[in-house]
């Protein structure tokens, strides 16, 4: 079994799906006391915050492992303003897309 022989996209689809289900099923099946420690609960609530923040930063400011400031930065900046103004989700996404697309066309 050579992992490298598989198409990485298919490997990602199957691997992610399999693990996602195992994680969900574990929770429905594991005795509650195993994971009810407050410290574990706290860390578990913080992990998505760290990972999602990192993902937003990497998707906004990097290209092929280089740091870069381009039209995406302006788009995400507008999204932040929309979020601060408590705009609904579709407004946040569409305003970011419109800003970025407009700058892309000017460039």
């Amino acid at each position: 079994m050579e992992i490298n022989n598989f198409d990485p996209l298919w490997l990602a689809v199957i691997g992610t799906s399999l693990l996602a289900f195992i994680l969900k099923y574990l929770g429905q099946s594991v005795p509650k006391r195993w994971l009810s420690h407050p410290r574990i609960l706290k860390i578990n609530s913080l992990i998505p915050i760290a990972l999602l923040s990192a993902l937003v930063a990497v998707q906004s400011f990097t290209k092929e492992s280089r740091l870069i400031a381009d039209q995406r930065m302006a788009g995400v900046g507008v999204a932040i303003v929309a979020l601060i103004l408590r705009a609904p989700f579709p407004v946040v996404v569409i305003s970011a897309a419109a800003t970025s697309a407009a700058l892309f066309k000017i460039q």
Binding site: A50, L51, A57, V58
Partner: protein, 224 residues
């Protein structure tokens, strides 16, 4: 046959529709990252947990390996385990029903179930199932629509999709940043991931921020 509480059903439906519509963004992001329409739809059907799906296509789209994509997605999926722990005593299901319940144990089904608990166990259960099934249906339909739409429109940057995806993520993340610790962690994670990006294989900078969450979690406990 128990009657469905009208308020519970209304909340389940509105959550299902709103969240399901995110599926368009996912379908489009997945195509933009190089996944095919079938692969995008399978991710929504089988993985069925939004943040993990965005993460795996984000990491591979940025040039990361399959393993770093799977690892990042799975770290984000760990919270479903904790939702399951919370939901299991409420649902009391075994066998095939437990498999279905597990697949739809996500942020939204858990959230609605918890919000209906004050009405009673029956309403909380209905909230879980209605929301889980509702999100599943709409999420998959909209994923297909987004994937087909993105395929038809060519260069994703010309449509601003390259900014829409991080903006969508930010929209998911924003309501979770409720206190100083959360905001400090979010900012630190951004800085760490960006600082690591030029020196590490794509995907690694993102997964590494889990250690920041660990450190913040351990310290938060000491302060208490």
């Amino acid at each position: 046959m128990s009657r469905v509480n009208r308020a519970t059903a209304a909340q389940s439906l509105s959550v299902s529709l709103t969240v399901g519509a995110y599926g368009i963004a996912f379908g489009a992001a997945s195509i933009a990252a190089g996944f095919s329409v079938i692969q995008s739809c399978l991710l929504s059907l089988l993985t069925f947990t939004g943040a993990s799906q965005f993460a795996v296509v984000g990491v591979l789209g940025a040039g990361g390996s399959a393993l770093s994509g799977i690892a990042t997605a799975s770290l984000l999926g760990v919270r479903n385990t904790l939702y399951g722990l919370r939901m299991a005593p409420l649902l009391q299901v075994k066998g095939l029903r437990r498999i279905f319940a597990a697949q739809i144990t996500i942020d939204e089904s858990t959230g609605v179930a918890l919000s209906q608990e004050h009405l009673g166990v029956k309403e909380a259960r209905q909230g879980f199932w209605l929301t889980g099934i509702g999100v599943f249906i709409f999420w998959n339909i909209f994923t297909l629509a987004g994937a087909l739409g993105a395929q038809a429109m060519g260069n994703p940057a010309a449509w601003g999709l390259d900014a829409a995806v991080p903006a969508a993520f930010l929209g998911l993340l924003w309501p979770r940043l409720v206190n100083k610790t959360d905001r400090l962690l979010a900012a630190s994670a951004c800085v760490l991931a960006l600082a690591m990006t030029p020196y590490f294989v794509p995907g690694v900078p993102i997964i590494s921020t889990a250690f920041l969450a660990l450190a913040f979690g351990l310290r938060a406990n000491l302060w208490r």
